[in-house]
Protein backbone atom coordinates (compact mmCIF):
# COMPACT_ATOMS: atom_id res chain seq x y z
CA UNK A 1 0.00 0.00 0.00
CA UNK A 2 1.44 3.37 -0.98
CA UNK A 3 1.79 5.33 2.27
CA UNK A 4 1.64 8.75 0.66
CA UNK A 5 -1.49 8.01 -1.31
CA UNK A 6 -3.65 7.62 1.80
CA UNK A 7 -1.73 9.87 4.20
CA UNK A 8 -4.50 12.48 4.54
CA UNK A 9 -7.12 9.79 5.01
CA UNK A 10 -5.17 7.93 7.67
CA UNK A 11 -4.93 11.18 9.62
CA UNK A 12 -8.69 10.92 10.20
CA UNK A 13 -8.87 9.64 13.77
CA UNK A 14 -12.00 7.54 13.14
CA UNK A 15 -10.20 5.81 10.28
CA UNK A 16 -6.45 5.78 10.84
CA UNK A 17 -3.80 3.36 9.58
CA UNK A 18 -5.75 0.51 11.12
CA UNK A 19 -8.83 1.39 9.08
CA UNK A 20 -6.77 1.75 5.92
CA UNK A 21 -5.19 -1.65 6.42
CA UNK A 22 -8.53 -3.26 7.12
CA UNK A 23 -10.13 -1.61 4.07
CA UNK A 24 -7.29 -2.87 1.88
CA UNK A 25 -8.15 -6.44 2.89
CA UNK A 26 -11.81 -6.20 1.85
CA UNK A 27 -13.55 -7.29 -1.34
CA UNK A 28 -16.60 -5.45 -2.64
CA UNK A 29 -19.04 -6.67 -5.26
CA UNK A 30 -20.72 -3.77 -7.02
CA UNK A 31 -23.85 -4.65 -8.98
CA UNK A 32 -24.76 -1.99 -11.55
CA UNK A 33 -22.29 0.48 -13.03
CA UNK A 34 -24.54 3.41 -13.93
CA UNK A 35 -25.03 6.76 -12.20
CA UNK A 36 -24.75 5.40 -8.67
CA UNK A 37 -22.44 2.45 -9.29
CA UNK A 38 -19.83 4.30 -11.33
CA UNK A 39 -19.53 7.03 -8.70
CA UNK A 40 -19.43 4.53 -5.81
CA UNK A 41 -16.77 2.41 -7.55
CA UNK A 42 -14.71 5.53 -8.21
CA UNK A 43 -14.73 6.50 -4.52
CA UNK A 44 -14.15 3.01 -3.13
CA UNK A 45 -11.16 2.54 -5.42
CA UNK A 46 -9.72 5.96 -4.61
CA UNK A 47 -10.14 5.35 -0.88
CA UNK A 48 -8.32 2.02 -1.11
CA UNK A 49 -10.72 -0.92 -1.01
CA UNK A 50 -8.69 -4.11 -1.46
CA UNK A 51 -10.52 -5.41 -4.48
CA UNK A 52 -13.74 -4.73 -6.31
CA UNK A 53 -15.77 -6.62 -8.87
CA UNK A 54 -18.03 -4.45 -11.00
CA UNK A 55 -20.92 -6.32 -12.62
CA UNK A 56 -23.04 -4.75 -15.35
CA UNK A 57 -24.40 -6.12 -18.64
CA UNK A 58 -25.30 -2.76 -20.18
CA UNK A 59 -23.51 -0.36 -22.51
CA UNK A 60 -22.99 3.36 -22.02
CA UNK A 61 -25.65 5.56 -23.50
CA UNK A 62 -25.66 9.31 -24.09
CA UNK A 63 -28.39 9.63 -21.42
CA UNK A 64 -25.98 8.23 -18.79
CA UNK A 65 -23.49 11.09 -19.12
CA UNK A 66 -25.36 13.74 -17.12
CA UNK A 67 -25.10 11.80 -13.89
CA UNK A 68 -21.59 10.39 -13.77
CA UNK A 69 -18.14 11.90 -13.96
CA UNK A 70 -16.47 8.66 -14.96
CA UNK A 71 -17.85 8.17 -18.48
CA UNK A 72 -17.26 10.46 -21.46
CA UNK A 73 -18.71 10.79 -24.96
CA UNK A 74 -15.90 8.55 -26.25
CA UNK A 75 -17.28 5.71 -24.13
CA UNK A 76 -20.75 5.66 -25.70
CA UNK A 77 -21.59 2.15 -26.89
CA UNK A 78 -18.92 0.46 -24.75
CA UNK A 79 -19.73 -1.86 -21.86
CA UNK A 80 -19.95 -0.05 -18.54
CA UNK A 81 -18.13 -2.82 -16.67
CA UNK A 82 -15.21 -2.74 -19.13
CA UNK A 83 -14.87 1.04 -19.14
CA UNK A 84 -15.04 1.24 -15.35
CA UNK A 85 -12.43 -1.49 -14.99
CA UNK A 86 -10.09 0.21 -17.44
CA UNK A 87 -10.50 3.78 -16.19
CA UNK A 88 -10.64 3.10 -12.47
CA UNK A 89 -7.81 0.59 -12.47
CA UNK A 90 -5.57 3.38 -13.74
CA UNK A 91 -6.71 5.57 -10.83
CA UNK A 92 -5.33 3.13 -8.27
CA UNK A 93 -3.21 0.17 -9.28
CA UNK A 94 -3.07 -1.03 -5.64
CA UNK A 95 -6.69 -2.11 -5.97
CA UNK A 96 -7.66 -5.27 -7.84
CA UNK A 97 -10.45 -4.16 -10.18
CA UNK A 98 -12.46 -6.70 -12.13
CA UNK A 99 -15.23 -5.97 -14.60
CA UNK A 100 -17.84 -8.60 -15.40
CA UNK A 101 -20.27 -8.11 -18.28
CA UNK A 102 -23.22 -10.08 -17.05
CA UNK A 103 -26.83 -9.65 -16.07
CA UNK A 104 -27.32 -10.68 -12.43
CA UNK A 105 -30.05 -13.28 -12.18
CA UNK A 106 -31.40 -15.80 -9.72
CA UNK A 107 -29.37 -18.47 -11.51
CA UNK A 108 -25.95 -16.81 -11.36
CA UNK A 109 -26.06 -14.57 -8.29
CA UNK A 110 -24.69 -17.15 -5.85
CA UNK A 111 -21.53 -17.70 -7.85
CA UNK A 112 -21.08 -13.95 -8.43
CA UNK A 113 -21.15 -13.20 -4.71
CA UNK A 114 -18.38 -15.64 -3.81
CA UNK A 115 -15.85 -14.14 -1.38
CA UNK A 116 -17.67 -10.81 -1.08
CA UNK A 117 -17.22 -8.85 2.14
CA UNK A 118 -19.88 -6.37 1.06
CA UNK A 119 -22.33 -5.87 -1.79
CA UNK A 120 -22.73 -2.34 -3.13
CA UNK A 121 -26.00 -1.55 -4.85
CA UNK A 122 -25.77 0.27 -8.17
CA UNK A 123 -28.93 -1.23 -9.61
CA UNK A 124 -31.97 0.61 -10.88
CA UNK A 125 -34.90 -1.58 -9.94
CA UNK A 126 -36.63 -3.04 -6.89
CA UNK A 127 -36.87 -6.71 -8.00
CA UNK A 128 -33.08 -7.02 -8.36
CA UNK A 129 -32.57 -5.33 -5.01
CA UNK A 130 -34.98 -7.82 -3.42
CA UNK A 131 -32.89 -10.64 -4.92
CA UNK A 132 -29.66 -9.09 -3.62
CA UNK A 133 -31.30 -8.67 -0.23
CA UNK A 134 -32.41 -12.30 -0.09
CA UNK A 135 -28.94 -13.55 -1.02
CA UNK A 136 -27.28 -11.12 1.38
CA UNK A 137 -29.29 -12.60 4.25
CA UNK A 138 -28.74 -16.17 3.00
CA UNK A 139 -24.96 -15.82 2.65
CA UNK A 140 -24.58 -13.39 5.57
CA UNK A 141 -22.99 -10.69 3.41
CA UNK A 142 -23.75 -7.06 4.34
CA UNK A 143 -24.99 -4.83 1.55
CA UNK A 144 -25.64 -1.14 1.05
CA UNK A 145 -28.81 -0.11 -0.72
CA UNK A 146 -28.89 3.21 -2.55
CA UNK A 147 -31.56 4.65 -4.82
CA UNK A 148 -32.42 7.92 -6.49
CA UNK A 149 -35.57 9.47 -7.91
CA UNK A 150 -35.99 13.05 -9.11
CA UNK A 151 -34.31 15.01 -6.28
CA UNK A 152 -34.52 12.34 -3.58
CA UNK A 153 -31.89 9.79 -2.67
CA UNK A 154 -31.92 7.03 -0.08
CA UNK A 155 -29.18 4.89 1.42
CA UNK A 156 -29.34 2.05 3.92
CA UNK A 157 -26.62 -0.29 5.10
CA UNK A 158 -28.02 -3.71 5.82
CA UNK A 159 -26.36 -6.18 8.18
CA UNK A 160 -27.93 -9.61 7.82
CA UNK A 161 -30.03 -10.57 10.85
CA UNK A 162 -28.81 -7.49 12.73
CA UNK A 163 -30.56 -4.57 11.06
CA UNK A 164 -33.83 -4.23 9.18
CA UNK A 165 -33.46 -5.65 5.69
CA UNK A 166 -34.60 -4.20 2.37
CA UNK A 167 -37.73 -6.33 2.46
CA UNK A 168 -38.56 -4.81 5.85
CA UNK A 169 -38.75 -1.36 4.23
CA UNK A 170 -40.41 -2.31 0.95
CA UNK A 171 -43.13 -4.70 2.03
CA UNK A 172 -46.61 -3.69 0.90
CA UNK A 173 -45.21 -1.13 -1.49
CA UNK A 174 -46.33 -1.73 -5.07
CA UNK A 175 -43.49 -1.69 -7.60
CA UNK A 176 -43.72 1.19 -10.06
CA UNK A 177 -43.17 0.27 -13.69
CA UNK A 178 -41.56 3.46 -14.92
CA UNK A 179 -39.70 3.35 -18.22
CA UNK A 180 -37.39 6.26 -17.49
CA UNK A 181 -36.68 7.33 -13.94
CA UNK A 182 -36.22 11.11 -13.63
CA UNK A 183 -32.95 11.98 -11.88
CA UNK A 184 -31.24 15.30 -11.19
CA UNK A 185 -27.72 14.94 -12.61
CA UNK A 186 -25.84 15.81 -9.43
CA UNK A 187 -27.87 13.49 -7.23
CA UNK A 188 -26.26 10.08 -7.94
CA UNK A 189 -22.79 11.40 -7.10
CA UNK A 190 -24.10 12.83 -3.83
CA UNK A 191 -25.91 9.64 -2.89
CA UNK A 192 -23.02 7.44 -4.06
CA UNK A 193 -20.70 9.37 -1.73
CA UNK A 194 -23.02 8.65 1.18
CA UNK A 195 -23.27 5.01 0.06
CA UNK A 196 -19.47 4.78 -0.06
CA UNK A 197 -19.26 6.19 3.47
CA UNK A 198 -21.78 3.66 4.74
CA UNK A 199 -19.93 0.84 2.96
CA UNK A 200 -16.61 1.75 4.52
CA UNK A 201 -18.15 2.24 7.94
CA UNK A 202 -19.70 -1.22 8.03
CA UNK A 203 -16.51 -2.79 6.67
CA UNK A 204 -14.72 -1.18 9.61
CA UNK A 205 -17.31 -2.48 12.06
CA UNK A 206 -19.48 0.57 12.69
CA UNK A 207 -23.18 -0.05 13.22
CA UNK A 208 -25.47 1.61 10.67
CA UNK A 209 -27.98 4.17 11.90
CA UNK A 210 -30.92 3.43 9.61
CA UNK A 211 -32.39 4.63 6.35
CA UNK A 212 -30.89 7.93 5.17
CA UNK A 213 -33.23 10.11 3.14
CA UNK A 214 -31.78 13.12 1.37
CA UNK A 215 -33.99 15.50 -0.60
CA UNK A 216 -31.59 17.91 -2.27
CA UNK A 217 -34.29 20.22 -3.55
CA UNK A 218 -36.00 20.72 -0.23
CA UNK A 219 -32.74 20.46 1.72
CA UNK A 220 -34.02 17.70 3.99
CA UNK A 221 -31.57 15.19 5.41
CA UNK A 222 -33.11 12.56 7.64
CA UNK A 223 -32.23 9.27 9.25
CA UNK A 224 -35.17 6.99 9.79
CA UNK A 225 -34.50 4.34 12.40
CA UNK A 226 -36.30 1.16 11.40
CA UNK A 227 -36.37 -1.96 13.54
CA UNK A 228 -36.19 -5.44 12.12
CA UNK A 229 -39.59 -6.93 11.52
CA UNK A 230 -39.70 -10.28 13.39
CA UNK A 231 -42.33 -11.43 10.88
CA UNK A 232 -40.26 -10.46 7.81
CA UNK A 233 -40.24 -13.51 5.48
CA UNK A 234 -36.61 -12.77 4.55
CA UNK A 235 -34.80 -11.71 7.74
CA UNK A 236 -37.36 -12.50 10.44
CA UNK A 237 -37.15 -15.34 12.92
CA UNK A 238 -38.35 -18.52 11.23
Amino acid sequence: MGKDRYRRQTLVKEFGLKGQKLLSSKHAILIGGGGLGSNSANLLIRMGIGSITIIDYDTIDKTNLHRTSVFSENDIGKYKASVLKEKLQSVNTDVQVQGIIKKVTLKNIDSLLTAADVIVDGTDNIPLRLLINKKSIQHKIPWVYAGVYETVGMVMAILPKKTACFHCITQNIPILKTKEIPVLGSLPATIAAIQCNETIKILLGKQPAGLLIYDVWNQCFDTLGIKRNPCCPICGKK
Binding site: A164, Q171, P174, L176, P188, D215, L224, R228, N229
Partner: protein, 82 residues
Protein backbone atom coordinates in the same frame (compact mmCIF):
# COMPACT_ATOMS: atom_id res chain seq x y z
CA UNK B 1 -58.64 10.12 17.94
CA UNK B 2 -55.68 12.51 17.92
CA UNK B 3 -52.48 11.00 16.50
CA UNK B 4 -49.03 12.55 16.63
CA UNK B 5 -47.11 11.87 13.43
CA UNK B 6 -43.48 12.53 12.56
CA UNK B 7 -42.80 13.22 8.88
CA UNK B 8 -39.60 12.86 6.85
CA UNK B 9 -38.09 13.97 3.56
CA UNK B 10 -40.14 16.30 1.41
CA UNK B 11 -43.16 15.81 3.65
CA UNK B 12 -41.42 18.20 6.04
CA UNK B 13 -41.29 20.78 3.28
CA UNK B 14 -44.90 20.22 2.25
CA UNK B 15 -46.26 20.39 5.78
CA UNK B 16 -43.76 22.94 7.08
CA UNK B 17 -43.40 20.76 10.16
CA UNK B 18 -41.47 17.79 11.47
CA UNK B 19 -44.27 16.65 13.72
CA UNK B 20 -47.96 17.17 13.21
CA UNK B 21 -51.26 16.19 14.76
CA UNK B 22 -53.81 14.32 12.72
CA UNK B 23 -57.39 13.74 13.78
CA UNK B 24 -58.76 10.34 12.86
CA UNK B 25 -62.52 10.40 12.77
CA UNK B 26 -63.09 7.07 11.01
CA UNK B 27 -61.33 3.84 11.94
CA UNK B 28 -58.13 3.20 13.83
CA UNK B 29 -55.61 1.87 11.33
CA UNK B 30 -52.52 3.26 9.64
CA UNK B 31 -54.59 3.52 6.46
CA UNK B 32 -56.87 5.92 8.31
CA UNK B 33 -53.80 7.93 9.38
CA UNK B 34 -52.64 8.09 5.75
CA UNK B 35 -56.14 9.09 4.60
CA UNK B 36 -56.19 11.94 7.09
CA UNK B 37 -52.69 13.03 6.05
CA UNK B 38 -53.54 13.04 2.34
CA UNK B 39 -56.82 14.84 2.99
CA UNK B 40 -54.94 17.59 4.80
CA UNK B 41 -52.11 17.71 2.21
CA UNK B 42 -53.61 16.70 -1.18
CA UNK B 43 -50.28 17.11 -3.02
CA UNK B 44 -49.18 13.85 -1.39
CA UNK B 45 -52.02 11.94 -3.09
CA UNK B 46 -49.69 10.10 -5.51
CA UNK B 47 -47.74 8.57 -2.62
CA UNK B 48 -50.87 7.33 -0.87
CA UNK B 49 -50.39 3.63 -1.66
CA UNK B 50 -46.59 3.60 -1.53
CA UNK B 51 -45.41 5.72 1.39
CA UNK B 52 -43.25 4.21 4.13
CA UNK B 53 -45.14 4.08 7.37
CA UNK B 54 -43.66 2.95 10.63
CA UNK B 55 -45.38 2.23 13.89
CA UNK B 56 -43.04 2.18 16.87
CA UNK B 57 -40.01 2.13 14.52
CA UNK B 58 -41.22 -0.85 12.51
CA UNK B 59 -42.50 -0.67 8.97
CA UNK B 60 -46.08 -1.79 9.20
CA UNK B 61 -48.87 -2.77 6.83
CA UNK B 62 -51.57 -0.22 6.28
CA UNK B 63 -54.22 -2.30 8.07
CA UNK B 64 -52.25 -2.21 11.36
CA UNK B 65 -54.25 -0.72 14.20
CA UNK B 66 -52.98 2.35 16.00
CA UNK B 67 -53.57 4.01 19.33
CA UNK B 68 -52.88 7.59 20.37
CA UNK B 69 -49.72 6.47 22.16
CA UNK B 70 -48.07 4.88 19.13
CA UNK B 71 -45.04 6.51 17.52
CA UNK B 72 -45.99 6.94 13.85
CA UNK B 73 -43.72 8.15 11.03
CA UNK B 74 -44.60 8.88 7.42
CA UNK B 75 -41.86 8.98 4.77
CA UNK B 76 -41.81 9.20 0.98
CA UNK B 77 -41.72 5.87 -0.89
CA UNK B 78 -38.47 3.95 -1.36
CA UNK B 79 -36.68 5.20 -4.47
CA UNK B 80 -35.33 2.80 -7.06
CA UNK B 81 -33.34 4.67 -9.71
CA UNK B 82 -29.63 4.20 -10.16
Amino acid sequence: MKILVQVFGRYKDITGKETLQLYITDGNTLQDVINAFVKKYPSIQNDKNRMMVTKNKMLSSFDTTVTKDDEITLSPPVVSGG
